[in-house]
Each structure stands twice: as structure tokens, then as C-alpha cells.
């Protein structure tokens, strides 16, 4: 056995108790995503978040939940999940005012919402209806493109491309509250790229980029998770020289 392998084995052994302790953690100690239930097809990619959690936990030190937890905007308990996920395939029925108020309060107190268009629509279907609802949600914070220099693209992986089942838009959009991204919107069906079938095979092919595009989707999942949990940590001055060197 080589010395490096021996060292790696020792490190794995040292970290093993931590991993074991982590497995018994309650939801408050993990990244557990609350998936918003609505009147449309709210869960078009079932099981995608199992894969999301598995990949994030495999690649990073983040402890993740087993799967996303369905939540209703009008029901108590929304704030137990600081990260929410809103997806749909086809038009999204309007939210009630009370539901939007609850979601708005969630975001204003520090919550984070990932919006994912499973139908890859642009100007119709889910895209048209969710833009309408997001405009109602935060009327003073319109959706704008996330600039390439944003910390989201360097929170763990250094990214310069988009991932997803499709590439409807080569960018992400966001609504900003107090200089942080409160709502992040992808039209590229991220969950479609993450989803595996019961037999372990990918449920959907990624077009046009294939598996490289799927890998970017997972890396984006990691970066989004890191951003939700660490904010602009990677914008701290201590990181800048390293990141600039790697980017060059």
C-alpha cells in the first residue's frame, strides 16, 4: 500500500465518527430543502432532491437531508426550511395573497428560494406564470440576470457555464434583497438533470451538452447550496487572490 493511500485511509477513519454522528442529525442541523406545493404540477421531478442531497454531501462537507420536504406556503412550519424550492411543469396557478405574504416574510428574514422551470419554457407555461408570481412576491426587486462575477459562480466550484436538462437560457436570474440573492430562477430544468430513475439510471438526457452539462448542473447545485448556507463567504478578501489565480 502506498503512503498516500495509507494517509487517506487514516483520514477517512478519523472522520468516520463525525459522519456517523451526522447521520443522526435533526433537520435543523442539515440542509433540508422545503419544496413548495401549489395548484399546478409542483413535483415534476420526484426523487431529484435525493440525488441532489447525495451529490452535495458526497462532494462537500454540507450535511443534507434525505429528500426535499413538501411545504405549503399558507401552513405553519415554513420557516423550518430556510431553503425553499419551487418547480412546475406548465402554468402555475396564482398564489393566494396570504401565501405570497408568508413567502415574502420567509425571504425577508433570510430565507432563500430556488425556482426551476421543469418544462424549459420561455415566455409561456411555467416561465410566464412564475414571472407573474415573482413580480407579485417582491414587486420592488425585479428579476435580473446574475452577473458572471457573482459569488454564486465561485462559492465552491469555479463555474462559467450553465447546467440543466436543457439550456433554455445561458444564465440565471435573481431577485435581490439587501444585497443577497433571495430568489434564484433557472429556466433550464436543473432537477431534470439531477433526477435518477428507480434503477439508478438518469431519467432524462441533457441537451445539447450531454453529461458535461449534467455535471455542471450538479456543480451548480453545490454552489447554490453553498451560497444558501455561506452567503458571500467567498467574497471575503482572504479568498480573492486564490480565486483570481485559479481563474487565470
Amino acid at each position: 500500500m502506498r503512503r498516500r493511500d495509507l494517509l487517506k485511509l487514516a483520514l477517512v477513519a478519523a472522520a468516520a465518527p463525525l459522519r456517523a454522528a451526522a447521520e443522526a442529525l435533526p433537520d435543523a442541523s442539515r440542509l433540508v430543502v422545503g419544496q413548495i406545493q401549489h395548484g399546478g404540477r409542483w413535483d415534476p421531478r420526484p426523487g431529484a432532491f435525493r440525488r441532489f442531497g447525495w451529490e452535495v454531501a458526497r462532494r462537500t462537507s454540507i450535511e443534507t437531508g434525505a429528500d426535499a420536504v413538501p411545504v405549503r406556503l399558507g401552513a405553519p412550519g415554513l420557516h423550518r426550511y430556510p431553503m425553499l424550492y419551487l418547480a412546475g411543469d406548465g402554468a402555475l396557478p396564482p398564489f393566494a395573497d396570504g401565501e405570497l405574504a408568508a413567502l415574502r416574510r420567509h425571504l425577508q428574514y433570510g430565507g432563500f428560494l430556488l425556482v426551476d422551470a421543469a418544462d424549459g419554457s420561455d415566455g409561456s407555461g411555467f416561465d410566464a406564470s412564475v414571472r407573474r408570481e415573482l413580480a407579485r412576491l417582491l414587486p420592488a426587486a425585479p428579476l435580473t440576470r446574475v452577473p458572471r462575477e457573482h459569488v454564486l459562480y465561485k462559492s465552491f466550484y469555479l463555474l462559467d457555464r450553465q447546467g440543466g436538462r436543457v439550456l433554455a437560457k445561458p444564465w440565471l436570474e435573481a431577485q435581490t434583497l439587501e444585497n443577497r440573492l433571495a430568489v434564484l430562477y433557472s429556466q433550464n430544468d436543473l432537477a431534470g438533470a439531477w433526477a435518477r430513475g428507480p434503477l439508478g439510471d438518469w431519467e432524462y438526457p441533457c441537451t445539447p451538452g450531454g453529461e458535461a452539462q449534467r455535471e455542471i448542473a450538479f456543480r451548480l447545485a453545490v454552489n447554490i447550496s453553498m451560497y444558501a448556507l455561506c452567503g458571500d463567504y467567498k467574497d471575503d478578501a482572504v479568498h480573492l487572490p486564490f480565486i483570481l489565480r485559479r481563474r487565470s
Binding site: 478519523a14 463525525l18 454522528a21 442541523s29 450535511e63 428574514y109 485559479r246
Partner: protein
């Protein structure tokens, strides 16, 4: 009293009319002379004489002259003897000589002896002066004694004396060493000379000292009112050396006994002043007394001015916090949010984003940086005010060798650092801290491998928690209890145990773990530092989760803001705070202090008894004052002017009591501050200025003498003034004058007729 005659005119005619008559009389004589121009002198002479006599007599009668008899008296002017009573008069008059006050007393006695025979011409007065002049007692000034004035204003004193009383000043004698700290500080200027001359009297002077004694003094310290902790602070010390030849002296700057800076100063005969820069980096916040001193040299006349103190307030520009997180989590996320929002916090964060078992891919595609453990926990550690371990385990990262730095971290806390450990599966016993040096400073007892309790539990205030600023969410005990009871339960909780009494630890919040009370939040005083334990990684629920039902995350923000302020010993978070009204006061001024007292629930402690002691630099209490806090919880106290120097303000306040009804068993809270009484210019420079006294005497026509010689005392002689009634005796009211006038006119008429001159 005496009588004086004076000639006066009693005519009712106005003076101009009399003048016209006089002109007319002269014209009449001239006309007569012209008309008689051809006549021989034997005729012309008598005629002109008779005409002139008639004109003079006519004018005399019209003017009605009279003799006035006046009663007059001579009013004596004041002769002021002004004696300098500023503190420089305590210095020796020369090397090995008597104090200047003694020489001045001798001069006063000599002046009194010289003025005694002049009692009918001047009225002697005695004045003492420093920055102001006041009438003085002859017995007091004639015997010397210690002078206490903080500065000298020679011209101001003369101005005051000249304007005092009803009688005019006839002369003055100034007995002084010539030091002046007002308008004559730079010498006798043209304006000052003019003002002295405007007094109109001779000012004589007696110099009680002529030569500067051998002396090494700290003349001045230039320092800012405040400095930033751990940043370089600079002060400039001005040394003055006289008569010490060539030698090297060591200048030392101490903070309450501890040397913080020093410098060697080479003295040379050709140089009198030396400006020495000193720099140091204060390590703690607070108000401190700094003292600069140079050793007393052999043969030195004045030892008191070899030391000089000042007060420096050491503050933070920003609280520098190191946050180390074992992994990204909501606990870290919301805590970071609070710290980043606070403009007073300079946050440096390091998160473990991947472990050695994670497989993210190629390193070049990641934004991760190596954790600079040696730099952060080595040389940089002293630059932080607080270090927060958020669910961070040192053990898995053997290659980083974090364990090697744990003893240094413990010592850093003992020397004043603030340390907090937050819970999670990598913290406390699960982080294997039970057998590390950090166990010596943690506020809870940790057993390695004790595990997490996942049963949700609500935080309950303990007796200590009810009166601790960290857990004060609302004003009033009941409101505070209710505020904590209304917060969501937390899960998981790290299993820990309270430390025994005497450890300096207090459990402020507890939860229920395995059916028993278990610490949730605990604090500990560790040497000069402080430690905090939060045995859960779900405190974020007190903010974000609570906001869902209550609409506010204020409890969470207040808890962490208070916790950080407590960790770094923010002075505003102490139950008692004492501040001088001014950090330094002039000599002779009273020292004022304000004591702010807060109750355990952080409300103003109205009517709380307060005692403040003023202690000198040797720790001896020199003054004591008592007061009760006002409705705003602030007590104001004042001390009689202490001697120059630096003093510690030691405040004790019974913040659980109101008024005098305070049981002896109730212990007071304590606080300290500092105040400096400036030594003033009088103490710094022992050099006399006889040349100034000589210039004053010369400018006013006075005489300059030195101590030990009999003074010569010129003065303005007294004026005679009319003090009684007057008598008029008419000179014109004589019948024979009229007869002579008629005879002169008749004689001229008769002669003219005889000589045919019509």
C-alpha cells in the same frame, strides 16, 4: 487740610464780551497815539498815559475781579505690594537656596518697612496673585508658606489692582520670580508695554530668583485623548534639562506600573529641550493612566517634575472576530448574517467546505483555499477580539495540526481574548475537546463522545441568566422570562454538564436533555478573558423560525449582539460604568465623575447607592464621595481639587438596591476609570525670569531689585483737591477806583483843552 487763594472774574458779562471790550480799549489807546503823532513827547506822553489808565480801570470795573478763598486737602494714593503665590514660587531661589516664597516674604517685610514712613503720602496695600489677584493678609504673606496657584498672570494682576478701590493707585511693587503664563509669557510686547504705561504709575519689581536651578523635567506630553486597541499609539514627551552637563537618561512610559515603552536620551550642555517620540500598542480597551518618568539626577533641585501622567482612553475601531466553522450550516449562516450586518464588526471567516472524505473533483476547478492555521492561530491570533468555533472539530484535520495551537488559544483567552464554542456534531464532547487545553476555559464540563440529544427543548433562564446582560431580551424579569418562553424549542443539544461552583462559570440558559436539566448557554470568566458555550447548533431558530409566528427575529439578534459585546468586554455592557466628566482637569479644578448603574435586567438603577473613591498612583485613597443614582441610573459626584497627578476612580454601586435600604448581604458591582489632574505650567519649569521683571520696571519708571536688597519705591505724589466751601472777596468794589477813573478822564480832557487838541 489747607487754604488756597485764587483770582476769579465776577462780571455778569460773557467772556467774549469782555474780550471785545479789551480790544476796544486797546483800540482807543492806539487811536489816541495816532492822533497825537505830531505832538512832542512832553505832551503826548501824559495824554496817552491818562488814556491807558482810564481804559484799564474801565475794563477792571466791568470785569469785576475778585479773590476766591478755597479749602483743600491732599488725598493719598494707594501703593500696592503684589506677591506672587503661584506654585513656581515653591522652587528654590537658586542652587541650594531658600524657597522663593521665603525670599518673597522677606521682600514684603522690607517693603512694609520702607512704606511705613510714607504713611502721610501713600496708603500701602497687600495683594497676592497667581492667575488672579486678591487682597491679602500681611501676616500670611510675611511668613512664606506653600504657594498653590496653578498659573501666573502678572499683567492681569496689575490691571486688577489698578482698577480696585476708590483711590487712585500711586505705585506698585511686584514680588515674583517672573514666570508668567498669560500675556507676558512671550516677554514684554509693545502692547503689553503700552498697557503698563497706561497705568500711569511706576511699577517696581523684586526678583526672588535669578538663576535656573539644576533640573531635569518632563515639560510636556503630547498625546491624543484616545487610541485604538492593538494599533500603534504615539506620544511625544518633551524633556527639559538645565545644568546637567553631558549624560544619558532613560525615559520610561508605564501603564499603571507596567512598562510599555522606553527610550534613551543623550543630554548635552548646548541643548535645553528634547522631544522624544514613544510608541506602543495598547492591548486592552479601557481608560488607563500612563506615566512618563525620568530618574532624579544627583543635585537636582526639583524631583516632582521628573514624572508626568496622562489618561488615555483605549477603544476599538471595530471588533475583530474570527469565525471558524466545521461545515456550512444554518447556524453559521444566520450568525454570519448578524456579524456582517454590524458595521462595528470586522469579520474574518474560515469554513471547512470539504473534508478529506469528500470527492468534489479536481482541485483546480474549486475556489477552495488552504486553511492558514499557523498564521491565524499563531501570529494573527492577537489581532482578534473574539474567536468563535461553530461546530468545529480540530481532530479530523491532522495535517493541519490544529491541536498544536490549542494551548496558545487557551493562553490568549486567559490574557483577555473572547472565545465561544457553538454546538453541533463536531463540537464539545463530539469534537473531543474534553481532553484538550480548551477544556480549561470552556464554561461547561465536556465528556468526549457524549453525543447529541435530538429531543427538542426550550431554553429556560437560570437564576444567573435572569440577571445577565447576554440573556436580557426584555426589560423586567417577568417580561424577560416570557420572551425566552416564547421562543421555539431547539434541537439538537450537546450533552454537557455545569462546572462546579468556584470555576467562574455560570449557566444562563438550560434545556432538558434525557429528562434532566442541561446547559444550553453558559459563560465563564477566564483570567482576563471570557468564554461562552452555546450547546446547540440551532440557536438560529430563535430568529428565523421565531419570525414565522412572532414577526420578529429581534431575540436572536439581541442575544448574539449582547454575547459578542460581553465576550469582548464592551464597556457599555457592564452593569456599572464610571467616567470622569473630563479625562484631565486643570490644577485647582474639582474632579467630576458620572457613574452609570444598570439593574440586572438592564434597566436604569434609579436611586441605587453609589460610592466612588479617588486613588492615587500608589493605590492610596485620597478622596471618597457618595451619591444615589438619578432616575436615569446616573449618579454625578464631585471631588475637591486634588494635587496634580493621575488618579483611579473606583466605583461601587449596589444595583439591586434603591435608596439606603440595602441589606449588607447584597454585594455591589464595581467599575474603574481614570482621571488626570494636569501638573500645569508652574510645575514644569523652574526657571525664573528676572529680565521680564526688569523690563516691567523700566517701562513704567519703577525700580528693579533682587531679593535680599532694600527696595526703592517710587510713586506718584498725592494731588490737592478742594473739599470744603469757597469765599469770594471782590477786588473792584472800591470807591477810589472810580475816582481815579474819573480823574484820569478829567485830566486828559483838561490837558487837551489847554493844548488845543480838540
Amino acid at each position: 487740610m489747607s487754604e488756597t487763594w485764587r483770582l476769579a472774574l465776577s462780571s455778569p458779562w460773557p467772556r467774549w464780551a469782555l474780550a471785545l471790550l479789551a480790544v476796544a480799549a486797546v483800540g482807543a489807546v492806539l487811536l489816541a497815539a495816532r492822533g497825537l503823532a505830531g505832538e512832542p513827547w512832553r505832551r503826548r506822553g501824559p495824554l496817552l498815559a491818562l488814556r491807558a489808565l482810564a481804559c484799564v480801570l474801565a475794563l477792571f470795573l466791568v470785569a469785576e475781579p475778585s479773590a476766591q478763598l478755597l479749602q483743600t486737602a491732599r488725598v493719598k494714593g494707594r501703593f500696592a505690594v503684589l506677591v506672587d503665590r503661584s506654585r513656581s514660587m515653591n522652587f528654590p531661589s537658586g542652587e541650594g537656596g531658600a524657597p522663593r516664597t521665603d525670599v518673597a516674604a522677606e521682600a514684603v517685610r522690607a517693603a512694609q518697612a520702607a512704606l511705613a514712613p510714607l504713611g502721610d503720602r501713600v496708603a500701602p496695600e497687600l495683594w497676592r496673585f497667581d492667575r488672579e489677584a486678591t487682597p491679602a493678609d500681611a501676616a500670611a504673606l510675611g511668613t512664606g508658606g506653600r504657594a498653590e496657584g496653578g498659573s501666573t498672570d502678572l499683567l492681569g494682576a496689575l490691571r486688577t489692582v489698578a482698577g480696585a478701590g476708590n483711590r487712585r493707585l500711586a505705585g506698585a511693587l511686584v514680588v515674583s520670580d517672573g514666570t508668567d503664563h498669560a500675556s507676558l509669557a512671550g516677554g514684554l510686547s509693545v502692547a503689553a508695554r503700552d498697557e503698563l504705561r497706561a497705568l500711569g504709575v511706576p511699577v517696581s519689581t523684586v526678583a526672588v530668583a535669578e538663576t535656573a536651578p539644576k533640573d531635569l523635567a518632563i515639560e510636556r506630553i503630547a498625546a491624543d485623548d484616545f487610541a485604538f486597541v492593538r494599533s500603534t499609539a504615539k506620544v511625544e514627551v518633551t524633556l527639559r534639562a538645565r545644568g546637567l552637563g553631558t549624560r544619558t537618561v532613560e525615559l520610561v512610559l508605564r501603564r499603571e506600573g507596567t512598562i510599555v515603552a522606553a527610550a534613551q536620551v543623550r543630554l548635552s550642555p548646548g541643548q535645553e529641550r528634547y522631544v522624544v517620540p514613544l510608541s506602543f500598542a495598547p492591548e486592552r480597551t479601557g481608560t488607563f493612566v500612563f506615566t512618563a518618568s525620568v530618574p532624579v539626577q544627583p543635585g537636582e533641585a526639583i524631583a516632582e517634575n521628573n514624572t508626568r501622567s496622562f489618561v488615555l482612553r483605549v477603544i476599538r475601531d471595530r471588533v475583530r472576530v474570527l469565525l471558524v466553522a466545521g461545515r456550512p450550516s444554518w447556524d453559521e449562516r444566520f450568525l454570519r448574517g448578524i456579524l456582517k450586518q454590524d458595521p462595528n464588526v470586522d469579520l474574518v471567516s474560515f469554513y471547512i467546505l470539504r473534508t478529506n472524505t469528500d470527492d468534489p473533483g479536481r482541485q483546480e476547478e474549486l475556489s477552495l483555499i488552504p486553511f492558514p492555521v499557523a498564521e491565524i492561530f499563531g501570529e494573527q491570533l492577537r489581532t482578534f477580539d473574539a474567536v468563535l468555533f461553530v461546530n468545529f472539530a480540530y481532530q479530523p484535520y491532522r495535517s493541519l495540526d490544529i491541536e498544536r495551537h490549542l494551548p496558545g488559544l487557551r493562553e490568549w483567552v486567559r490574557k483577555g481574548g473572547g472565545f465561544a464554542m457553538l454546538g453541533g456534531e463536531q463540537s464539545f464532547g463530539d469534537g473531543r475537546y474534553g481532553e484538550t487545553p480548551l477544556a480549561d476555559i470552556l464554561p461547561v464540563e465536556v465528556t468526549d463522545g457524549s453525543g447529541l440529544a435530538v429531543e427538542p427543548t426550550r431554553a429556560r433562564l437560570t437564576a444567573e441568566g435572569r440577571r445577565h446582560p447576554i440573556t436580557a431580551l426584555a426589560t423586567g424579569e417577568a417580561a424577560n422570562e416570557a420572551a425566552w418562553a416564547g421562543l421555539p424549542a431547539v434541537s439538537p443539544v450537546n450533552r454537557t454538564r455545569p462546572l462546579p461552583a468556584g470555576s467562574g462559570a455560570q449557566v444562563l440558559l438550560e434545556g432538558t436533555v434525557d429528562g434532566h436539566p442541561s446547559p444550553l448557554v453558559a459563560v465563564r470568566e477566564v483570567g482576563e478573558g471570557r468564554a461562552l458555550a452555546v450547546a446547540t447548533d440551532a440557536s438560529w431558530a430563535w430568529g428565523f423560525v421565531a419570525a414565522e409566528s412572532s414577526g420578529t427575529a429581534r431575540a436572536y439578534q439581541r442575544f448574539w449582539t449582547s454575547a459578542l459585546r460581553w465576550l469582548v468586554r464592551d464597556p457599555d455592557l457592564a452593569p456599572v460604568k464610571v467616567e470622569p466628566d473630563r479625562p484631565s482637569v486643570e490644577p485647582g479644578e474639582p474632579v467630576g465623575a458620572a457613574v452609570t448603574v444598570r439593574r440586572p435586567d438592564w434597566s436604569p438603577a434609579a436611586a441605587a447607592p453609589v460610592v466612588v473613591e479617588l486613588a492615587d498612583d500608589e493605590g492610596k485613597t485620597v478622596a471618597r464621595a457618595e451619591a444615589a443614582a438619578g432616575p436615569d441610573g446616573v449618579a454625578h459626584l464631585s471631588f475637591a481639587p486634588p494635587r496634580p497627578g493621575a488618579y483611579q476612580l473606583r466605583a461601587s454601586a449596589w444595583n439591586r438596591c434603591s435608596g439606603a435600604a440595602c441589606p449588607p448581604s447584597v454585594a455591589p458591582e464595581h467599575a474603574t476609570g481614570a482621571v488626570a489632574v494636569r501638573p500645569g505650567p508652574e510645575d514644569a519649569d523652574a526657571a525664573p525670569r528676572p529680565e521680564l521683571l526688569r523690563a516691567i520696571a523700566e517701562a513704567t519708571g519703577g525700580k528693579f531689585t533682587t531679593g535680599g536688597r532694600s527696595p526703592v519705591l517710587p510713586f506718584v505724589e498725592p494731588e490737592a483737591v478742594e473739599i470744603g466751601g469757597r469765599k469770594d472777596r471782590p477786588l473792584w468794589d472800591r470807591g477810589w477806583l472810580l475816582a481815579v477813573l474819573a480823574g484820569a478822564l478829567a485830566g486828559e480832557w483838561a490837558l487837551r483843552r489847554r493844548w488845543g487838541r480838540w
